[in-house]
């Protein structure tokens, strides 16, 4: 009888321990950590251009005038 009771207590405990261990193994990936640790390296294919110049071809100065990017000399 005592053995039976012990078994009945152990069973759910075992299951719980297993699930906790599984959870610990499956560590949640943090997207920010990924971003911080894996920046994109390599050649800059649009050197010297601002984001606006890349997206729209031109940018605006403080006065609201269109400013075109300076042409770079081709080698």
């Amino acid at each position: 009888m005592a053995d039976f009771i012990r078994q009945q207590i152990k069973k759910p405990l075992k299951i719980k321990v297993k699930s906790i261990k599984k959870q610990k193994r499956k560590k949640k990936q943090n997207f920010l950590d990924y971003m911080l640790n894996n920046p994109i390296t390599g050649k800059d294919h649009m050197p010297g251009l601002t984001h606006d110049e890349i997206l729209y071809g031109y940018t605006y100065n403080k006065k609201g005038e269109k400013v075109w990017p300076k042409k770079s000399k081709k080698s």
Binding site: F31, L32, Y34, M35, P39, D44, M46, H51, I54, G64
Partner: protein, 145 residues
């Protein structure tokens, strides 16, 4: 875990700086994000993510890494919560876009301003001077970056 009450809206140029080490604001972006990550709920929207991914793809020509980033935004709701801009927000952005006196704000910038006003987000993380000095964000806004 304690619920983060403070909210911060993150602009595309922050994500670009964070992922592109050659960007002049890379170190600053990293430092500020590390500081605010635990205190603030980090918000953005799909227009800003689209801008980020496009600029990074054109700059790097690295489809693989840019795709990983795109997947991160779509499949990880933490730490960046990306709002899919509803029509109501798009119309508010359109209003801002049409009302600007000088052509300084892109439509994506306008969605950021509209989201800040709409969701009452008083802290904005951007490196864009035009957003910081925008007349649409006059009262009580705090800018990081």
């Amino acid at each position: 875990m304690a619920k983060k009450i403070k909210k911060v809206l993150i602009d595309a140029n922050v994500f670009i700086a964070l992922n592109w080490p050659k960007d002049s604001c890379h170190i600053q972006a990293k430092k500020i994000l590390k500081n605010i990550e635990k205190k603030y709920q980090l918000l953005t929207n799909n227009y800003l993510v689209a801008e980020t991914l496009t600029v990074l793809l054109l700059k790097t020509k690295d489809v693989e890494k840019t795709s990983i980033l795109a997947n991160g935004f779509y499949y990880h709701s933490e730490p960046f919560k990306m709002l899919q801009a509803p029509k109501s927000l798009q119309f508010k952005a359109l209003k801002i876009f049409s009302k600007q006196q000088k052509p300084l704000l892109s439509f994506a910038d306008c969605t950021l301003i509209a989201q800040a006003i709409d969701q009452n987000i008083k802290t904005i993380f951007t490196f864009d001077k035009n957003i910081k000095s925008s007349p649409f964000l006059k009262r009580g806004y705090k800018f990081l970056g």
